[in-house]
Symmetry: D3
Subunit: 128 residues, 6 copies
């Protein structure tokens, strides 16, 4: 019964890390795709992120690695996950080190672009 | 002078985790691309992997995430990095948890294929 | 409450198009990733495939297009979706026409490889 | 002799769905690549789009699926194909449903970005 | 009138570098996709490869670079283009040098896999 | 000892084609990733670009092919390499011919986007 309560778990987690997310998604997307906002709460937050097994910081650094290597269209999600990694205690140097390693797997363009996304997040921290 | 001694650092590290690698690469590739084997020692091992900042287990789990999300042709490298993650203390459940999260970024085909690569590594452990 | 009953809907649909799927996934993956088999029932089958809005044949042809264009590691999923499209009434010519158009978006290698996957499915039909 | 008359067929189709396209392409590209504009008329329009076998709406929804899953740089083409799908009778809900399914194959970033492209097209309809 | 005679040009070129190609494609694919074999003659061979502007060797080395960087499913096409590059005078070292540079853009997995494809082609030369 | 002197070779080459690069990278990135700027000098410039075997123009056209086919996030690097190819004697028509061929491997969106990047570089030449 792994997914029993997926919505509740996802709602609690999303409100903690991204308050107001479900309402914002609903306002933008649910008239076109009924249930989209609820799915984001239930699936990524309630079914995947809330599983445990690895600690939050490791999970977020791994996500940053994947989004950096995939590159291209992932910049918005990359910035969200970098901000989340920072919020659970990852240093700027740790975030950038993980991105730097992606030179080897995603190539130089992917690495430089992800590094620039990280710098945008850090600049936002400095002006907050 | 960050890269001074890159070959020495890379050689020490590659001999520890992948003994005989430089000679094997040299035998297969160096006649076609002079210096390829040395480059693998100097660049991924000596310049990237040996940097520190994040611990080995985190670095390897992040690499596994990226290779799983990229999918396709990365299976040989994915298996090498899964074996390395196991060697530095990652449990099977941790490796699979990281791969599982890649459903969200690389899609279901990428996740299932990477999970199958992990199972191949684990089966090799059981018969070793 | 879009996802209430996602498991039940997904179970009914998966048993119809892919009988025994949850048990097969559970046997292979659930010890490593508790809940993986249930997630596949709930998320792709219960939350996405069972939504309606477009008819099954259109949905499957669109999925075939995407998997063909993505190429590479998607061959197993491509074959499953081609078989499903055939089961809901798509002709061989329709399946191949959709793949053929992917020349324009995924390039010639992607198109030819997907065409070969379709031929494998059709050969299986002929020998069934 | 499948391609006899490819230019004529392609010209008729492109003038119908995208009037002035060949001239616009010629003005921008043909000095650098002689024949580029004619190739676009002959190949995608005359050789691929004009084939029949599947109806226009299905073909366009499949194309939208592929472009959404490929993501990244495909946004201009995605918007053109969404507008074309709308012009041949696809509802907003059908377009978005097809994009939504791509969560499973292209991941969440691909889906959200394609959904945003669709919304841009719909906003253009509302202000037309 | 850039494409007038595309079939004739493409036929002459394909018979020279890949004799029997159109018939082989027709036998395998044309019942499923009428005109596929002719399209391959007309479009890649007659419309793209036969254009001139760059010499054949440069064009083929550039194609090898792209297929190596794209990686994954492109291995059959990569091997065909490596053999063609060899046939127009590219040395083994030149082919491998181009592949080697792709480390920087496609990452190490892409480079190593393409290098292995090249070695397969060279081994075929040695046993021919 | 292929890489002995990689920094010196890379520094000489990067100062020639991209003067001030190391300092610019150092100012932006080295506080976050100590050694990044030196790595770019040593690895792409000193270890890969400076190898010879193929002439500079061929190497750059091959790189342009790969970046065009990969598409998406590679636009900044594509523009740099197009400018470098022009600087070593590639004509506009040669650059665009190579990009045009990528229609076959990266699809139409990749080709058109890369062509637009080339036009931006050429417009910069005209206003320089």
């Amino acid at each position: 019964m792994a997914e029993t309560g997926a919505y509740e778990r996802g709602k609690a987690l999303s409100e903690q890390v991204n308050p107001g997310m479900e309402d914002a998604l609903a306002a933008r997307y649910d008239a076109l795709v009924p249930g989209l906002s609820r799915m984001v709460v239930e699936v990524p937050y309630g079914t995947f992120y809330a599983r445990g097994v690895v600690d939050e910081k490791t999970r977020l650094l791994a996500t940053i690695a994947a989004l950096a290597a995939l590159g291209g269209q992932t910049k918005p999600q990359l910035k969200v996950n970098i901000a989340s990694a920072r919020a659970v205690g990852a240093s700027r140097e740790e975030v950038c080190e993980i991105i730097y390693q992606m030179t080897l797997y995603g190539g130089f363009p992917a690495m430089i672009n992800a590094m620039n996304a990280a710098i945008e997040v850090f600049e936002g921290e400095d002006t907050a």
